[in-house]
């Protein structure tokens, strides 16, 4: 009974600390608040399951992010949003630079899932590399290269298709 109460408390604590972060990542990557809610619920369910399975494990942000990364990956594959050819042509040719920067989300969501996740938690939320390494199960140097490549891709889409 005490263990169950402890688990509930820990779960509430995780929700309080990282709930906003996970929800923001879910909604931003899936580009939909309803899908984001579903993904958030799935992630929270998995976290609760992990808490029950390993009650004495010290859960930190990296582990929560790791679960979110896995669950979001599945959700993204199921609900992947692809631009129509017309939308892609419009984004690539007809828009001015300012409009393109205003339409940054459209370019951002053309990136692969891992790149989006990395840019969001690194550049938007400013999480340190060690935690990202643990969450994405990728070495730090690879993450830096990946980030640089993602920047280069976005730059090509926005500036070099003028």
């Amino acid at each position: 009974m005490a263990l169950a109460q402890k688990n509930t408390k820990r779960f509430e604590n995780i929700l309080e600390l990282y709930g906003d972060l996970i929800y923001d990542i879910c909604v931003n990557i899936l580009w939909s608040s309803s899908l984001g809610q579903v993904a958030f619920k799935t992630t929270m369910k998995e976290i609760k399951h992990e808490l029950k399975a390993n009650p004495y494990f010290d859960y930190k942000r990296a582990f929560v992010l790791k679960i979110a990364y896995e669950k979001l990956g599945f959700a993204y594959q199921k609900n992947i949003k692809k631009l129509t050819p017309a939308e892609q042509i419009m984004l690539d040719t007809y828009l001015s630079l300012n409009d393109k920067i205003n339409q940054f989300d459209s370019y951002f969501h053309r990136l692969p899932f891992a790149d989006m996740f990395l840019l969001l938690i690194r550049d938007k939320h400013g999480l340190p590399y060690p935690e990202i390494t643990a969450a994405m199960n990728t070495p730090e140097d690879s993450l830096k290269t990946q980030r640089q490549m993602a920047y280069r891709t976005l730059e090509e889409w926005i500036w070099e298709t003028q």
Binding site: L15, Y23, S33, Q37, F40, I101, Q148, Y151, E155, I158
Partner: protein, 315 residues
């Protein structure tokens, strides 16, 4: 593009440091080298400016806040809290409003009724289908049409002969009783009385019957000539399939399809060839010389057509 020297870095090295440069983690000598490269290389400076724009856009993006409802119940997303009436236009139907046990009972009864009808109707439907199929075959089979035409001609030309043959003995039983009876009745008397299905078929005049004659003889070839003569007398066309007879190990077999009337005529003639001998001493031998019987055919056959099989076995 700066190809680089020993003191400064080239574009490739600068690109590798871009992530650290954006994070502001470059310090000391590395930072000085990067700054020097940016001053010299316009391309890298442009890339850096673009990267800064992207970085600022990303970092300034609006952060989504977890809704209060979801924070309160994180394992149930908001859509669950919306009442079901919101999604349906008309609300629950009458059927949905009825209690589950009534719905379950009704569904069960309906299921059994449907199953019962299916079980009972399937054989009837099957028999109807087969009957229709047989009728279609009878109409479309050119061989049977030809035989029917021949039989009509025979009946018109041989009215007198037919009337005489009706008075001939029909069975191998008592001659007098056989003469008194009608031909069909005499024949049916020989059939198995329990075989009501066969009788029904006979009454409905659906020609699904086979006549088998077994003649034991010393010389099947001589008997074959007699049989062929009989066919000629009965005006069975030599073109009819099976009239020639087929030599098989142990004898000769005729297998032909003729009209029912002709089949009866063949039977009458053969009975005349082999009359029953009343002599008790040789009774057994004579009875074994010629035997015949009629049976129903399982295979579908055209209306009014009977199959006649005459087997001349070598003694």
């Amino acid at each position: 593009m700066d190809l680089g020297n020993t003191m400064s870095i080239n574009c490739f090295e600068w690109n590798n440091q871009l992530s650290n440069l954006l994070d502001g983690t470059l310090k000391g000598e590395n930072k000085i080298k990067n700054d020097e490269h940016l001053k010299k290389c316009a391309t890298c400076q442009k890339h850096y400016d673009h990267a800064l724009v992207i970085f600022s856009t990303l970092s300034q993006q609006k952060r989504e806040i977890l809704p209060a409802q979801l924070r309160k119940e994180p394992l149930t997303h908001l859509l669950h809290s919306i009442p079901q009436e919101f999604f349906s236009h008309k609300g629950k139907t009458y059927w949905q409003k009825t209690p589950w046990y009534i719905r379950a009972g009704t569904k069960g009864i309906l299921f059994f009724v449907v199953a019962f009808f299916l079980i009972t109707l399937t054989p009837k439907l099957k028999s109807l289908y087969e009957r229709e199929k047989n009728q279609n075959r009878g109409v479309l089979d050119p061989f049977s049409l030809k035989l029917e035409e021949e039989s009509q001609e025979n009946t018109q030309k041989n009215d007198n002969e037919a009337s005489q043959q009706q008075s001939l003995p029909l069975t191998r039983g008592n001659l007098t009783t056989a003469v008194q009876k009608e031909p069909d009745e005499a024949f049916l008397g020989e059939l198995d009385e329990n075989d009501s299905e066969t009788n029904n078929i006979q009454k409905e005049n659906i020609a699904q019957e086979i006549w088998r004659f077994h003649i034991k003889t010393d010389s099947p070839h001589e008997m074959r000539l007699k049989i062929l003569k009989l066919f000629t007398e009965l005006k069975i066309s030599s073109q009819t399939h099976g009239t020639g007879g087929i030599e098989a190990p142990g004898g000769i077999q005729f297998d032909l399809q003729v009209t029912q009337e002709l089949a009866e005529k063949i039977k009458n003639h053969l009975t005349m060839f082999f009359p029953k001998n009343t002599d008790t001493a040789s009774d057994t031998n004579i009875q074994n010389t010629f035997t015949w019987y009629k049976n129903k055919v399982k295979r579908a056959q055209a209306n009014g057509i009977a199959r006649v099989v005459i087997w001349l076995s070598q003694v």
